[in-house]
Amino acid sequence: MVKNIINVENLSKSFDVSSKEPGLKGTIKHFFIRKTKSLKVIKDISFEIKEGEIVGFLGANGAGKTTILKMLCGLIYPSKGSILVSGYSPFRRKENFLKKITLIMGQKQQLIWDLPPIESFYLNASIYDLDKFEAKRRIKKLSDMLEIDDELYIPVRKLSLGQRMKSELLAALIHEPNILFLDEPTLGLDINAQRNLRKFLKKYNKETNATICLTSHYMKDITSLCKRVICVHNGSISYDGELDLLLKKLSPVKEILIVFRSDEDALKLENYGFTIKNKIKNEITINVENNSITSSLKTIFNNFDIEDIYINEPPIDEVIGKILIKKNI
């Protein structure tokens, strides 16, 4: 049986935020009297993550996804509840715990700007107590996996965003962590760079059985990497389970595109009780519930002269968009 590597129980986090009324009067008042209120950004959440799992955290901006990741890696202190990551309480930041994890934040860099990435890699290697030989071996292995080579010797400031992100990944993975916290890792990358990064993460997960917790606003990151998702809405978990089940639950329909031989047939389709979503000449798109696809197709084939037919899942972004605004799923 696969063991749990992350256990979170009744976790809450509050931040003190000051508020200011607008205008000059508000500014002067704010100068003398600061009004602060406690904002509960994470509300009593509990979940478990198994070793080797890739879990996507979904939610709108400000829902609390990044705050959860920051608490899981020990960057910020929880207000209430307990977290155990690989048997450690993250915030204690024990050396052995820190050697097992890594945090990668899109657009935030740890590489030294004016030096080639290789310098930062050797620095990180010594911070994680790797000897020179081992550091060299790991840099070679990871640079092969990430397909970077010449870039290692070019000052970071002269690298493209994609090359920099790959170098950031190498720097963050040189100690071969078995738990990866990735906060928007593909932010700002072009489509090819995003795809390469996803390919790399899949490979890393497969080869090392690393656990990956990921937040992303690019749905392709979630759908191609995560079997399981945790949806966060206003600091609470609105769904925790398989992504496929969630998609089925939220979108119990399939899109059928029918290409009729004649325009007249296309006009008659509504008479058979189908709701037309889109119509362009003799091409009609309808939504059909998953449990009535066979019967619907039978009706269509028996009554119409069909040139072609396509059955599609509804666009994923549309479905995920629904998740972001739902309190309960």
């Binding site: 920051k70 960057l75 890594t102 945090l103 004016d114 050797y122 010594s126 963050a172």
Partner: protein
Amino acid sequence: MISNLINRKILTLLKVQYSNMLEYRVEIALWAISGVIPFFMLNIWTNNSLNESINISNVMLSRYFLCAFFVRQFSVVWVVFSFEEDSLMGKVSPYLIQPLNPFFRYFAQHLAEQITRFPFAIIIAFFFFIFNPESIWIPNLGILLLSILSTFLSFLIQFLIQSIVACLCFWTEKASSIERLLFIPTLFLSGLLAPVVSFPEYVKSWIYLTPFPYLIDFPANVLSGNPTNIAGGLSIQVLWVLLLFPAFKKMWSAGTKKYTAMGS
């Protein structure tokens, strides 16, 4: 374990930071030149014959201010400004989850800069001696080593004071304002503008209870050969380090609990 830390982590940090500093050699030359306040002060003192009032010869005063320049070059600290910027921009976050306190990075950065400054400081001293040939002297090896030690301790004291102030970034976003407040006593009481011996007796009686005279005045006096209690001064410097280090650790531990990782 400690020797491993020093041997591997700190030395690698130092090497990397030194490479980084060399990318900025022009800036470092300018910073070195910008530290010539003691020479201006020397000019004011000698032109107004102020040295006669404290029974110190022109030569000894020249040496004092040259040494004050050297001590300042190798003990100047700016950690609060770096930490404040890094913490506001979220750059501290990746360092916080590495098995090395981020302040070691800043410490290595300072040491690397001191090494980079060294040749520039020597060039400035060379020109100083051209214009003041009577001030030329060669301190003996023992004195040189003791003054290097006291300059390093002065750097440690300043680094710890600023690190404590930097930790206030966890509570307030503008901790550097507090540092600016501390800069005033540092400037007037450290011996950068005038040797502490020239201060009135009642000022001297309490000034030695603070760390300020041990930042510039004491190491400069050791190096220039002015009469000073070397053993007593070094002991007090060590005492300040021993007092400030636990205070920093306490602030760090309390501060990281308050950290909100803003900007990231």
